[in-house]
Amino acid sequence: MSATTEPPRPAPRAWTTRLRERWLEELPPEKLLPDGQPSYVSSWIYVLGVLSLSSLVVIIATGTILALKGPNWWHDTGLGHFFNSMHLWAVELFFFFMVVHLWGSFWTAAWRGGRRRVWMTGAVTFLIAIPCALTGYVSQQNFDSQWISTQAKDAMNSVGIGAFFNLMNFGQMYSYHVFLLPLAVVGIVGVHLLLVRKHGVVPPFERDLLAAVAAGSADADGTAAASPAVHTDGEQSA
């Protein structure tokens, strides 16, 4: 009996190895934490996203403190009022900045160049933030929240989804407000940020078109495919 000489099989790779390699391929460290940004990012319109994110950080921080201390504290003490107000105004600013950021992204067609998921995660964040705020308004434990919850309950019933949510059930609304919906918002915002890092900030129309024309890939309607070149030239320090 002769011994067969089979080529050695490659050692099976662990799922952690495959995940790490995939991560490094999709989002290498220099993309995740870049040294600079393209020169076209030097515009106030690109600051709105960071302002939205900053507001979200304040919302989570103040909301955590409010959750730890409870309704009596936020209604009956000066410091509680202060944190309650901080939480409210951070939410107001979050929506303010997020909507202006959304306008800027819409009018620059920020889904260009394979950035569809960046746009979609941003839009979904906005949609989830709305019930997140609503459940906060009905969790205040005051006359305001009673009024809003009865009105919102009628609104839910009128659109046929009243069987799934009871706006007058404080426990249910509070769970949605402090756990489920914030988890969704923070999770999707995290994915949104990673996608922005992966694809880079969308370039202005003129720059995108020029790069596409240079590469000979402009479509008949003037839309252009993503051009990695425009992401790297003209960099400046962050």
């Binding site: 020169s39 106030w44 319109i45 303010f96 202006v100 030239d233 003209g234 960099e235 400046q236 320090s237």
Partner: protein
């Protein structure tokens, strides 16, 4: 301490066809448009550059 704005009265509303919106909300929307326009039009201060190709 007196509030900066006296809120001890019913809110003023604007009624136009089917649209019913408080004056304060209209003001917020106006400010949002103003911030959007300012963000596009105002020059951005240029910081330290690490690339000679910045203005290309």
């Amino acid at each position: 301490m007196a509030a900066i704005f006296n809120l001890n009265h019913p809110a003023s509303y604007i009624h136009w066809l089917f649209i019913d919106v408080s004056v304060s909300n209209v003001l917020v929307v106006v400010v949002m448009f103003a911030v959007f326009a300012a963000a596009i039009l105002l020059p951005f201060p240029h910081g330290h550059s690490n690339s000679a190709k910045e203005d290309q």
